[in-house]
Symmetry: none
Subunit: 417 residues, 2 copies
């Protein structure tokens, strides 16, 4: 097994002032580990030419692959190019296609490109340009002396796409790194981390390849299964067999693998059944529907939603009966039921979900913050209503309501429809 | 003004595997900045004696204060003590009170103390012990050659208490550092980073205290103004006067300071004017309204919203006229206008905002992804409609639409109402 020494340098004074955490280094490290590269150092240095140069000199001595994030922007604060030029003496040239892209960006917005934006198209001679598919400024990879240097923007979204689409494939191809480390996340809902760990303790302690580790997540709990092997196929087999062992013990709570979200799971169930969904959202304020509309192809499953934060909207638009509201209040099983039912008829959907409750910080209608009713109605089926009590601040309660809504909906779709 | 060069080293392979982010370095950096210490480097190194020693040697050369977190635990993985002994040749002795505490800890839990736990009570001769008030193992501060070394556990809760209660007071007392550093963020929308820098270049280059630095943000651009002074009051005055200079040049785009979001700004404007808002959201799917409902007191400004992802909902619930849709399409100025106007009447609000456009990935009604119409209507005022063209993937386009909506609304509220 070759040992490629990798190092990740973050350039930016905002990191040294503690305004942001170095999550770029974390994310890149995870990807590198998955692909069999050893990261031996993280370093952070501010927007100061002398110190960036000193850092680069040191990194060049100790590492084979050096990934630098940040310091590539258009302003004079951005030192990465200048610093690398000082240690490499490589000539810089303007990269035509990148310059065209930058100019087009400004033209499309009808805004004037200032001269300093040209800096972003400057590349070291002989560098491989790393195309930025989600932003404006490109990155680059340069081989210098015994190291491979990778320069990427500090914006996480742009950096991530560039690592995934270009840098990792290139590094794997050019370093002869052939150990494969594969990881999969198995995602569970409706079961706590300690209970899951307890049920799986024989599997967790009984083997070292794959390793099995439970992780608390925003949406339920995940189990990370990580296998080392000499080929993808072998790693895949190792993972698959452990996955089957795990699911045989806890399958009922399993909802998906890897990056699959609960929203995607529900989206798939709706799509397979050809069902359109509507939502009536009070305390969640549109968060539920927004998670579905975020997914490509939303028009195949989403009718629409009504954010009925105001009681008048519950009555006038959602047509919840005034008697229900007078007799039981808006935070009630009855109101949640009518909201779910009427969302179907008003919005022309097959299935409706409703959220009404107290996000806080103040109590409402005699209910303390965290009291939430979630209703689900499918045409021709009995309406299901669940009363929940969540802990946490306003937005935690809102977030947990939405997650619970997806969980209930998943179970409802799998069992009832 | 003295310039104490500080450096923060995290020891632990879990950081290099990306299992956790280096939030310790962020937190310490923030505290150091507030207290006038300049942090020039972050470094992370794994549980490997040789590499920890190499890192320590390098840090000793460049920094006055070196704060090391992690690697102090009881297992053989924990290298921090051994590494420092290698570079300092300082003798290690068992610290009686710390050993007593460790023994008491195990006795209290009725568990057996293994021999390796003794390691945690070992201190360098002459070190100041940093008591751990929320955990078991102590930290220490050691003066060696020209640097002050601070060793702390990696557990954030323990490390934080030790920094606050012991390390910072000690450092301030022993370094004669009485400088206060205060920072504020001024937030702008509707102006690019390079244009803002261009307008402010005299201010940016003309002064060193406060420093003025532009930063790209998710919501527009921010300017960070950072002042060093000998008192809070003096720092505040310096910042205030620079802020006035900046606003006199770019005030029209300014929307808030520090952590204020655009949604909060708009929320405040609505509340001050006693206005209720409604939203008609197609491609944004509820994201706009969800940002407002996330704020405490949302019931004072939010009527509600309609997520009209489906054309039928635009017609049946929002009552957009079928002629408009047939003649101009749903992605049109006309449809956006009716959506904004009707959201007011249907939801009983004073002001309505609408979003209709193509999130992608596919084109729609002959418009390419990123084409978005945003409408704003206030009762008794002419409806305003803005056509935008955004770059990026589906969710970037949706996110940018919402941010643009808040920007337009802010301008509308400030100028028209």
């Amino acid at each position: 097994m070759s040992q490629i020494k990798t190092e990740i340098i973050g350039v930016g004074t905002e990191l040294l002032l503690g305004q942001i955490a170095n999550t770029n280094a974390q994310w890149i490290s995870e990807r590198m580990a998955e692909n069999g590269f050893s990261v031996f150092h993280h370093a952070v240095v501010g927007d100061n030419l002398q110190r960036v140069v000193a850092q680069f000199e040191q990194s060049a001595e100790r590492s084979d692959v050096i990934i630098v994030t940040g310091g590539l922007g258009p302003t004079e604060d951005d030192m990465t190019r200048e610093a690398f030029q000082k240690i490499s003496n490589l000539e810089m040239v303007e990269h035509g296609p990148s310059m065209d892209k930058i100019e087009a960006f400004f033209k499309k917005r009808n805004s004037v490109m200032t001269e300093n934006n040209r800096r972003q198209a400057r590349m070291f001679k002989g560098a491989k340009v790393v195309e930025n598919q989600v932003g404006m400024a490109p990155g680059m990879m340069v081989s210098h002396q015994n190291s491979m240097w990778v320069f990427l923007p500090g914006v996480p979204r742009e950096m991530k796409a560039m690592i995934t689409n270009t840098v990792l494939p290139y590094l794997k191809q050019h370093t002869g790194e052939h150990t494969v480390i594969k990881s999969t996340m198995l995602r569970f809902i409706g079961i706590g981390e300690s209970r899951l760990e307890d049920e799986l303790k024989d599997i967790i302690h009984g083997q070292s390849n794959p390793t099995v580790a439970p992780l608390a997540q925003n949406e339920g709990v995940a189990i990370r299964v990580t296998a080392k092997a000499s080929s993808e196929a072998e790693a895949f087999e190792l993972i698959e067999s452990t996955k089957q062992q795990i699911l045989s013990k806890t399958g009922g709570h399993f909802y998906g693998s890897d990056e699959q979200s609960l929203a995607e799971k529900v989206f798939g169930l709706l799509k397979n059944r050809g069902l359109f969904i509507a939502a009536a959202e009070s305390l969640t304020g549109g968060m539920f529907m927004e998670r579905l509309v975020a997914l490509e192809g939303a028009s195949k499953v989403c009718s629409g939603g009504i954010v009925c934060y105001d009681t008048k909207v519950k009555e006038n638009v959602l047509r919840v009966s005034p008697e229900t509201i007078t007799q039981y209040g808006t935070i009630s099983e009855q109101c949640a039921g009518e909201m779910a039912e009427n969302s179907c008829s008003v919005l022309g959907a097959d299935i409706g979900i409703s959220f009404t409750g107290v996000a806080g910080p103040d109590a409402q209608e005699g209910h303390s913050p965290g009291t939430v009713f979630i209703g689900i109605h499918a045409i021709g089926k009995e309406t299901v209503i669940k009363k929940c009590v969540f802990q946490g601040d306003r937005n935690t309660i809102r977030e947990r309501s939405v997650i619970k809504g997806f969980e209930l909906l998943m179970n409802f779709l799998e069992k009832e429809l």
